[in-house]
């Protein structure tokens, strides 16, 4: 039994999971800034994905209408969240699934661990899932002698390298092919010693390495991209087929899902299935999307468990300004346009949620005091807002969170984060998006809101640029 007062939204507990910064952002960021290899890798990744994404978004004549619909569906979802979750629970149960509720990471880990044990398994295969990273599920499973095997290639590289993910979409983007080859040679017992660092060769090695695991493991753990309240349908969007393996081959499937991932109706998928791939990987559609509703006799897992996770989300929901961070569909577009992320890398954010969305989501999930420097890990240029397929106004939430927890150390952090951009006048001038800046700063010349007002009090803000950040970034 959890000791909580009913009805009091509560933040994620300390000491479990991966949501809190070990050190303040500026200190961690300095390491990233000092690593030229990391910055080269990141720059290549973000530039490439931006270009691909921009091209396929330009093909869609109704992109802005889809964004508006996506944003509104999410707002509607949050407004009706209790009823939608009850509806989802009923639909999943009617289709032969079992629904569990977890107030926080500790409880979710206990539920999943218990289900794996009840299935008599000592190994689980995992589809990449931010929710299970957030709650530290792998550590919890290992603690009771259950081996979690990450099956997404990048997650496998991270796991074998005893490393942390650095990007939502491409978690091993900080590693180059030579490093990946070394990790495989060291960690895969059966690997061909003549392994080269060709990407196709490395991918083939991972295929061979995981095949036996896929065929012999009886329990899988996944996340979910969407869950439809109306029908009880879960959806996982992926590329490699490791998702299909985990969702199809085991006897028991356990899905851990943040309560915000629910969408009201089947029809709503038409919005998000158009927005997500183009914003995320820059594809018209990702290679594989799996959808399942409860269990299907004779096809796929015959036991399905859905764990609905709060872990601080109700606290985010309680903040009328900040709650739109829960609209996030984890596409990572905001990372790829963020000048601060590109220079510091994902590890600097100290949480499984890096980049602009991490700067607003993590401190809300933990309480701002526990992640005090993250709301300052931004130059407030507004590029993330432009890029977000569900139009989350990240800059406004950042400013709101800064006001919520004035913090001298964090204020210094603010200056450190902002200073990099602001000390490079060309970058800064180009990065400012006129409309965004004037809204945040008030009429030009009046300066930025506190605590940045200390900076602008003695300086004039640069002229707003003639083009938006996105245009400039695209031409760079």
């Amino acid at each position: 039994m959890t000791r909580t007062f009913l009805g009091m939204p509560t933040t994620a507990p300390r000491g479990v999971g991966h949501l809190r910064e070990g050190e303040p952002f500026p200190a961690a960021a300095r390491r990233g800034l000092a690593d030229p290899q990391l910055r080269r890798n990141l720059r290549h990744a973000t530039t490439t994905i931006r270009a691909k994404s921009g091209a396929v978004i330009a093909e869609v004549p109704d992109w802005q209408q889809l964004r508006a619909a996506g944003s509104a569906v999410k707002a509607d979802t949050m407004a009706r969240l209790p009823e939608l979750l009850e509806q989802l629970e009923a639909a999943v149960t009617a289709a032969g699934g079992t629904v569990h509720w977890a107030v926080d990471a500790v409880e979710a880990n206990r539920i999943v661990t218990g289900l794996v044990r009840a299935a008599g398994a000592d190994r689980v295969m995992k589809v990449k899932s931010m929710a299970t990273q957030e709650i530290g599920l792998n550590e919890a499973l290992e603690a009771v002698g259950i081996e979690p095997v990450e099956t997404d290639l990048a997650e496998l590289i991270v796991q074998l390298g005893r490393d942390k993910p650095s990007h939502i979409l491409v978690p091993a983007i900080h590693r180059n092919r030579a490093e990946i080859r070394e990790i495989f040679l060291r960690e895969m017992p059966d690997v061909d010693p003549g392994l080269t660092d060709e990407p196709a060769v490395l991918a083939a090695a991972a295929r061979r390495h995981l095949r036996e695991t896929f065929l012999s493991t009886r329990v899988a753990v996944s996340g979910a991209n969407f869950a439809v309240a109306e029908t009880g349908t879960l959806a996982v969007v992926e590329s490699e087929g490791n998702g299909r393996m985990c969702l199809t081959l085991p006897e028991t499937l356990i899905t851990v899902m943040g309560i915000e991932k629910v969408v009201p109706t089947w029809r709503d998928l038409e919005v998000f299935l158009q927005l997500l791939p183009r914003a995320s990987t820059g594809e018209r559609m990702n290679p594989y999307t799996s959808m399942w509703t409860g269990v299907t006799p004779g096809d796929g897992p015959q036991a399905f468990h859905l764990v609905l996770l709060d872990n601080g989300r109700s606290a985010v929901l309680a903040d009328e300004v900040g709650r739109q961070a829960l609209h996030c569909i984890r596409c990572s577009a905001c990372l790829n346009v963020c000048p601060v992320y590109e220079r510091t890398g994902g590890h600097a954010y100290g949480s499984v949620y890096p980049g602009p969305i991490g700067a607003v989501l993590s401190p809300q999930l933990t309480g701002v005091a526990d992640n005090a420097s993250l709301p300052y890990a931004s130059s407030l240029c507004g590029a993330c807002y432009d890029a977000c397929p569900v139009m989350i106004d990240i800059p406004s939430i950042l400013v709101h969170l800064r006001a919520e927890a004035p913090h001298p150390r964090a204020e210094a952090a603010a200056m450190a984060a902002a200073a990099y951009t602001m000390d490079h006048p060309a970058l800064y001038a180009a990065a400012q998006r006129a409309a965004k800046l004037s809204r945040l700063a008030g009429p030009r010349g009046r300066g930025l809101p506190p605590p940045l007002s200390g900076w602008t009090a003695s300086r004039d803000l640069p002229e707003p640029p003639p083009q938006t950040f996105r245009q400039w970034w695209a031409q760079r």
């Binding site: 919005v271 796929g300 709650r323």
Partner: protein, 200 residues
């Protein structure tokens, strides 16, 4: 007090009382039925994903299957039209084959439920001519036969044609990863080769 009560109680408290009424959702994007199907676009999108596309009459499907899988062992779903299979192919019907048995086969031939031209996507829904999800996952070659009247223009069109309660697999090109320095590599775990036969 169950965790369920606690979570729902917290969410209700977070939303406040009285609740702010949800705003209506503006659906000004292109709805189902708004766009005419363009088969050439479908072919273009499939090719762009490095799927191999064949176009032929229904009576010619067996000839293409022979070209792709002739002389090899192929798993087939129970309801696959038999005239799609050439004599040169060793067909193994899926009567609850084990995963290991399926993984040892060379390929699979299926029909499809619906396809999306704009994104180059094929949707399988587990009907008898498509079979269990596992048979299109483990073999390295997937030959999928799509009738042209199954091709719709957009994602909204596709969702109106499929049933949520079936297990659904949306396929857009062969399995692929871009995790190593963003180089696209086909076939990490799913089939490395996708052949789409579009029939009239």
């Amino acid at each position: 007090m169950t965790a369920r009560d606690v979570v729902l109680g917290r969410i209700r408290a977070a939303l406040g009382d009285p609740r702010v009424a949800p705003a209506p959702v503006p659906r000004e994007y292109r709805p189902a039925g708004a766009v005419a199907t363009d088969l050439d676009l479908f072919v273009d999108r499939l090719t762009d994903y490095r799927a191999t596309v064949h176009r032929c009459a229904d009576t010619d499907v067996a000839r293409i299957v022979d070209e792709v899988l002739g002389g090899r062992q192929v798993v087939v779903p129970p309801g696959l039209p038999r005239h799609w299979l050439p004599g040169s192919v060793r067909a193994v019907p899926d009567d609850n084959l084990t995963a290991a048995r399926i993984a040892a086969l060379d390929g699979v031939v299926t029909a499809a439920a619906v396809a999306v031209a704009e994104t180059g996507t094929i949707v399988l829904d587990g009907a008898p001519d498509q079979g269990r999800r596992i048979i299109t996952l483990l073999p390295d070659v997937h030959v999928c036969v799509v009738r042209s009247d199954q091709v719709v223009a957009t994602v909204p069109d596709a969702l109106t044609r499929i049933t949520p309660h079936r297990p659904l697999t949306w396929i857009s090109g062969p399995s692929a990863t871009s995790d190593i320095e963003l180089n696209r590599v086909e076939g990490v775990h799913g089939p490395r080769n996708l052949h789409v036969i579009i029939t009239a």
